[in-house]
Amino acid sequence: MRDFRDPVLFKQLANRLKAFEFEKETKIMEVCGTHTMNIRRYGIHTILPTNLDLLSGPGCPVCVTDNSYIDYAIELARLDDVIITTFGDMMRVPGSYESLEMVHSRGGDVRVVYSPLDSLEIAKDNPDKKVVFLAVGFETTVPTIAATIISAEKLKINNFYILTGHKLIIPAIRALLSAENDISGFILPGHVSAIIGVNAYREVLEHYNVPGVVTGFEPIDILKGIARLVTAIRDGVFILANEYRRVVTDEGNLKALELIDEVFEPEDVAWRGLGTIPLSGLKLRDKYAHRDIRNVVDVTPPPPREHPACRCGDVLQGKLKPDECPLFGNLCTPDNPIGPCMISSEGSCHAYFKYR
């Protein structure tokens, strides 16, 4: 743990946590890349109760993105009349054969944007090109894309498209729990929950009788969330609690949810490590299908393949700790990354390496 000079509350919480002891190994999981980072960054993993194991699940959007998606984006980037726009994290992720960064260095037009709205601007400025935004991310990002699609319609910017790669958290939690993972509780994500609301988790968590606590991002927030969760686990009670009331409500952001529902509908999609999960992704509704680049340009990437030694898929399921991968820290580092879990700043391997 780092040198906590002052905060009384932090000490109290840390002591409360340390006083816990589980007789047998107990696993809890967080499913948010920012939690992964901050837990390591603030050394929270070092002050956990005896026998409590805190796993990082599939919370890093870039990491759970299947190679075939990246391969498709790369094929698009090779086309002269296409501009790819993306959040920065996607650039270095290797698909089956290369990364967007590599295509970019050879002249492919790939641009990093901070917001999908920036892509819309690029589309407006380049009317003779097809501008394709790589729509990757969980429910926090989905409504921002939905709003951008609606803006594109309103402004009649007809050369703006997306390559859909969204993922939904509830089906992922269901897949993890139904796979007989012995997870005893979930630290639930902050901003995904701001959109979907606390109640969205109730059905699946109640079904498997696994407690969950929605948690913010500051160290105190995370400690509070973990303390709440381990208390419930020790007492054998089910809770679905909200420790991030500053931002998260029970119902979520209804306006954002309406926008998502207006623009998208669920479909089965493949996740790295977890395979295809029913209704865990989103596709554009018929009304907006003309914005789906797959319906407009036909490219055929070579058959996908995985790096034979990378265990990122197992890491994402909590089956393997990053430092248990034989490549971790020697052949695979943030400067010389092999898999997406090391490349993405939200990836577990990256977080483990950076805050060893």
Binding site: R41, P143, H191, R246, N253
Partner: protein
């Protein structure tokens, strides 16, 4: 990456606005929140205000952030985005 820092709306122009925090200004979409107005505190993700929060909750978060930063000495990495 989720950034928990609350930002305050300083300009509204239809569906877009400018938010500010600690001297940093950003253009954001306002389509995901109702009745955005100057002075409102919001959480921003991917260039959009995704949730309005109460001023006292914004203050609480800012306090937690500065306490965390002061006590952990970890504002240096400059990796926030």
């Amino acid at each position: 990456m989720c950034l928990g820092i609350p930002m305050r709306i300083v300009e509204v122009d239809g569906d877009v606005g400018i938010v500010e925090s600690g001297g940093i200004k950003r253009k954001v979409g306002l389509m995901l929140i109702d009745g955005a107005k100057v002075g409102d505190w919001v959480i921003v993700h991917a260039g959009f205000a995704i949730e309005k929060i109460k001023p006292e909750d914004a203050m609480e978060t800012l306090k937690l952030i500065s306490e965390g930063a002061a006590s952990l000495g970890d504002v240096s990495s400059g990796e926030e985005k």
